[in-house]
Structure formats: structure tokens, C-alpha cells
């Protein structure tokens, strides 16, 4: 660089608005969240912050004694660990289909498959509520044609979370699919040619060429899908209000209720921080697994 001093001043000028905004409205609140979680900040403190005391780790201790916290954690893991891999599998399947040499109108199908992703979550969650209706819903009607007895999708604690997972797979697979298609296109043809020469069939080619070459893509998709899925909120808020019998209450929904409905903000901040640790842990584990292979 020929003009270091001048460019340096200009750099800070260009960076200032973004850094200021991200610092004040993101990093600062994140740090404050940690502080908030060791106070008894509640509805009285919302009125006047003098009513706040330092309580150490009491919020965390109470959290561990709260059954609802454990069940919300369990529900969130259910959603992420079943819904996440399922979404990724469907995405990969769709990407392989669309990447097939025989297929024409690729961009047409790609657009259709991607469409659910750009819809407004709240709106389609409401649509699915009606599709899941026990008596009038199209889903049960379709199952009936196959001879399956009606399922109380959102009213049965055993089925509520699978229903939300099914909707999430439908809504989200298109995004990962695009990323997989890009990953597939970057695999050199020569690798497949060599596998053909070696007499490898399609299945072996998939496991010996496609999957290993897709590993960086898989890591990226895995990490962003998991981060997103651990933040489950709008689907249960709109479709089930966390029920029935709290079977779809996620960690974020619990945080929202504690923090913004009951204004137990210190307690809610502890929940938020646990969520962060869970997400961080999972991200690190995924990186570790990828490295070991």
C-alpha cells in the first residue's frame, strides 16, 4: 500500500458507523446479558433500576432446579438433533436430484424448491396450523386416503414436536440445498471419471467421491443449521404456544416468557446464556468431528 497513513484514517472513517452500531447494539448487550444474569432484575427493576441486587449464581442454581427449564432444553435438543439432520438429508437429496445430468429445467425446479424458504415464517406457520387440523386438515385427509387413522398433530404431546419439525424441514431445506448444489458443482469431473474407470457404481461414488469432497460444505451447513435450530421460537409461539403440556416449549420461548411476559429479566438472562453455551458447545463439537475424520 502506497499511502498508509491516509488510508488508515479513511479506514476508520468507513468502519466507524458499522463498528459503533454493532458495538453498542450487539456486543455491549451481550456483555450486559452476562451481568444481568447475576442480578435479580425483575419488574420492579424495570421501573427503577435501584431495585436490583447482585445475587451471584443464584439464577443459574434456580434454573437447574426448574423442571420446565430441563424440559425446554430437552424439547430444543429434540428439535435440533432430529430436525437438523433431517433437514440436511432432505437438502442433500434435493441437491443431488437437481444436479443430475439428465435433468432439464434445473433453475425452474431450483426456484420452486427454494420458495418455501423465502416465505414469512409466521404466515406459513399459521397455514400449517390449518393443514394439521385434525378434522379439516389436508394432511389427515391425505393420510385417510392411505388408510391411516387421523392424527391429532398439534394437540397430542407426542406429535406436536414432530409436526413442528416437519414444517421446519419444508421451510428450510431449500437454503441448504443451494449450498449443496454449489458444493457439488465444485467437485472436479475428473474424480468421477477416475471412479468410473475403477468400476465404482453410483453408491460407491457417492460415498467415496461425493461425500468426502462435500465435507467443508457439510460442516458449514451443519453449523449454520444447528445454530438456527437451537433458536427455535416463532414456530411454537404461533402454532402451539409451547403446548400441549409444554411439549414444544423451547429454550428461547421460555426465555421470552420469563423475560418479557413476567419481566424476570435476571432469570431470563441466565437462560439466554445457557443457550449460548449450548450453541457454542455444539459448534465446537462439529468442528472437532470434522477435523478428526
Amino acid at each position: 500500500m502506497r499511502f498508509p497513513s491516509e488510508a488508515s484514517g479513511a479506514a476508520w472513517f468507513f468502519l466507524a458507523p458499522a463498528l459503533l452500531l454493532i458495538g453498542v447494539f450487539f456486543f455491549l448487550p451481550v456483555a450486559a446479558s452476562l451481568l444481568l444474569s447475576v442480578t435479580d432484575f425483575d419488574i420492579y427493576a424495570v421501573a427503577s433500576s435501584e431495585n436490583t441486587r447482585f445475587v451471584g449464581l443464584e439464577n443459574y442454581a434456580r434454573l437447574l432446579r426448574t423442571p420446565l427449564f430441563w424440559s425446554s432444553l430437552q424439547n430444543t435438543f429434540y428439535f435440533a438433533l432430529v430436525g437438523g439432520p433431517l433437514t440436511i438429508a432432505v437438502s442433500l437429496g434435493a441437491a443431488l436430484l437437481l444436479d443430475a445430468k439428465l435433468v432439464r429445467w434445473k433453475s425452474f425446479f431450483r426456484t420452486i424448491y427454494f420458495t418455501p424458504f423465502v416465505t414469512t415464517l409466521v404466515a406459513v406457520a399459521i397455514v400449517w396450523r390449518y393443514l394439521y387440523h385434525t378434522r379439516y386438515g389436508l394432511l389427515n385427509y391425505g393420510l385417510e386416503a392411505l388408510g391411516v387413522p387421523p392424527v391429532d398433530w398439534l394437540g397430542d404431546p407426542r406429535w406436536a414436536m414432530p409436526s413442528i419439525i416437519l414444517m421446519a424441514v419444508w421451510k428450510n431445506f431449500g437454503y441448504n440445498m443451494l449450498i449443496f448444489i454449489a458444493g457439488l458443482q465444485s467437485i472436479p469431473d475428473e474424480l468421477y471419471d477416475a471412479a468410473n474407470v475403477d468400476g465404482a457404481g453410483p453408491v460407491r461414488q457417492f460415498f467415496n467421491v461425493t461425500l468426502p469432497m462435500l465435507r467443508p460444505t457439510l460442516l458449514f451447513v451443519g453449523v449454520i443449521t444447528m445454530i438456527g435450530y437451537f433458536q427455535l421460537f416463532a414456530e411454537p409461539y404461533v402454532m402451539t404456544q409451547g403446548g400441549p403440556l409444554r411439549s414444544t416449549t423451547s429454550v428461547v420461548l421460555l426465555m421470552y416468557e420469563e423475560g418479557f411476559r413476567w419481566w424476570r429479566m435476571g432469570f431470563a438472562a441466565a437462560i439466554a446464556f445457557v443457550l449460548f453455551l449450548v450453541i457454542l458447545g455444539f459448534t465446537l463439537v462439529q468442528f472437532r468431528i470434522q477435523r478428526e475424520r
Binding site: A7, V30, L97, A100, T115, A182, V252
Partner: protein, 304 residues
């Protein structure tokens, strides 16, 4: 990476190799296995397309049904007669025009300002040298792992201090700068040749001028991607607007919709009309500008 028009087209990948290529001699000598394979492939593709579109198509269809028709057994797929009465009710009785305006206003303002703010920062990280650049960028990247919900409780208190609760600014300000946006721009701006920037400097152009007349025109495609991405994300956002907005007059469409379903859950057709109104604008934006959006998603991920 260009999608679909790349040099490796038509598509190449594992699935394509499942069947041996037929001899190019005559179209009539295509092996039967290939015809069967192709049929299965297309059937699967069409089935997938039907499943992907069915909820959206049913939403539109049910929104046009006369009252009560979407709650009948057996369920109807198409309206017996098309009626727009529910859409009329949305704009007269339910005041959804107001929320439509709010959503459009907030999403447009966020998109416009965030483009300027993120592109400036992304360009600085890509092309300008300053002390601590890489460190700072690493710090920002670490922020990508932080779930936004962790920030929400203190952010609410901060907004309350600033008097921005229940205002448009309360939703707009936190969306003005995004780490992801800076990432995207930085990645793309790295491809601008240094010589071009230096040449402009030698000509005596100010840094601001270089940004305006050299950098911005050079990153138009990624700006388009980021614009669509930001607009859709802001339009569809639910949790933060739900927290910040308590007064109906400032509601965005998703918040209003979640509220509406509590009162009108029995009015299936009305709810479907509201859902169409909420999601149709973003669907149209996507359909018209999908090239930029899809390319952005694919390019950003692979290199990132």
C-alpha cells in the same frame, strides 16, 4: 460462482453418473434403463415440487373461498366461487393496510441504510490497511456464533433508556449493521484490483470519492444480493419486533398476524388472506430478483 450458466453445465454430480451414457448414434437406441431412470427422476422432482408448493397454493386458494368453505369435510382444494371479500375485510375492518405500510417502511429503511453502512465497513476490511485489521475482523467473526437472543434482554433495556420502545427506530437501529453483511461485502470487494484504487489516488481522488465511484460500481452484484437478503430478513423478522412493539399502530405484519390468529383462529379464510398479504410481497421480490439472491447464497457459502 455463476449458477446454472457455469462452464460445467448441464449439471454434473453424483446422481448423474448413476446411469451409463447412451451411445450418441441415434435417439431411438436409448437403453431402456435410462428411460426408466429418467422417468423416476422426473416423477421424484415433480412430487417434490408439488410438496414444496402445496402449502403456499392452498393458502392462496383458501383465501379466495367463501366464509366457512375451508373448514369442511372433506376438505376443499379449490374455492366453489372466487371471492375477494376477505381481502376487503383486511383493509377495511382489520386495518392491515397500516401494518403493510409499517413493514414496507421498516424493511426499506433498514435495507437502504444497511447497504451503505455494511459496504463501507466491508470495503475497509477488504482493501484498506490499518493497524489491528485482522484482529478486529476476527473479533467480529466471533460474534457470528453469538445468538441474537442473548443480546435481546439488555437491548430492550437500552432501547427503553433511549425512549425507542414502541417506535420504528426500535426495530430499525439494531438492523442497520450486520456482521454477515460486512462478511459478504468484504469477500466480494477483495476482487477489486488494487491498481484501480491506487490509480484513482494518484489522480487525486479523495477516499470517499474512490468509494463512491470505483468501489460501489465494482460491487453492484453483491449489493443486490445483500439488499434482497436484508429486505426479506427484516420483513420476515418476528421476535424482536414482537418484543419492541407494544402499541398496535407500529406493528409489522408478522406481529399483527400472530396477534390476529388469537382472535380469528376460526376464520380460516380470513387468516389465509392475511397470510397471503404478509408473505406475497417478499415472494414477489424473490421471484423477480431471484438470480441475485440465489447466486449470493451459493457464492457466499462455498468460499466462506
Amino acid at each position: 460462482m455463476t449458477v446454472g450458466t457455469g462452464n460445467r453445465e448441464p449439471g454434473t454430480g453424483a446422481a448423474s453418473r448413476e446411469l451409463p451414457a447412451s451411445s450418441p448414434s441415434s435417439p431411438f437406441s436409448v437403453p431402456r434403463s435410462r428411460v426408466v431412470g429418467k422417468t423416476i427422476l422426473y416423477l421424484t422432482l415433480f412430487l417434490g415440487a408439488v410438496l414444496a408448493l402445496a402449502p403456499i397454493l392452498w393458502m392462496i386458494s383458501a383465501s379466495l373461498m367463501p366464509t366457512g368453505e375451508a373448514s369442511t369435510y372433506p376438505p376443499r382444494v379449490l374455492p366453489s366461487r372466487v371471492t375477494f371479500e376477505h381481502y376487503e375485510a383486511l383493509f377495511t375492518r382489520l386495518n392491515l393496510g397500516r401494518y403493510l405500510f409499517n413493514s414496507a417502511l421498516v424493511a426499506s429503511v433498514v435495507t437502504l441504510f444497511s447497504l451503505a453502512i455494511n459496504s463501507m465497513a466491508g470495503y475497509a476490511f477488504a482493501k484498506l490497511r490499518f493497524r489491528g485489521r485482522d484482529r478486529l475482523f476476527q473479533l467480529l467473526s466471533a460474534g457470528l456464533v453469538l445468538p441474537v437472543q442473548v443480546a435481546m434482554l439488555p437491548l430492550f433495556l437500552l432501547m427503553k433508556q433511549l425512549g425507542l420502545i414502541n417506535s420504528y427506530w426500535g426495530i430499525i437501529i439494531p438492523g442497520l449493521a450486520s456482521i454477515f453483511g460486512i462478511f459478504l461485502i468484504r469477500q466480494y470487494a477483495q476482487s477489486i484490483p488494487d491498481d484501480m484504487l491506487d490509480a484513482a489516488r494518484i489522480d487525486g481522488a479523495s477516499e470517499l470519492r474512490i468509494y463512491r465511484s470505483v468501489v460501489l460500481p465494482g460491487i453492484v452484484p453483491i449489493l443486490a444480493t445483500l439488499a434482497i437478503w436484508t429486505f426479506l430478513a427484516t420483513w420476515n423478522d418476528f421476535m424482536w419486533p414482537l418484543i419492541v412493539l407494544s402499541d398496535e399502530s407500529h406493528y409489522t405484519l408478522p406481529v399483527a398476524l400472530a396477534n390476529l390468529v388469537g382472535e380469528h383462529v376460526q376464520d380460516t379464510e380470513l387468516m389465509m388472506a392475511s397470510s397471503v398479504l404478509t408473505t406475497l410481497p417478499v415472494l414477489l421480490v424473490f421471484l423477480f430478483l431471484q438470480r441475485y439472491y440465489i447466486q449470493g447464497v451459493m457464492a457466499g457459502s462455498v468460499k466462506g
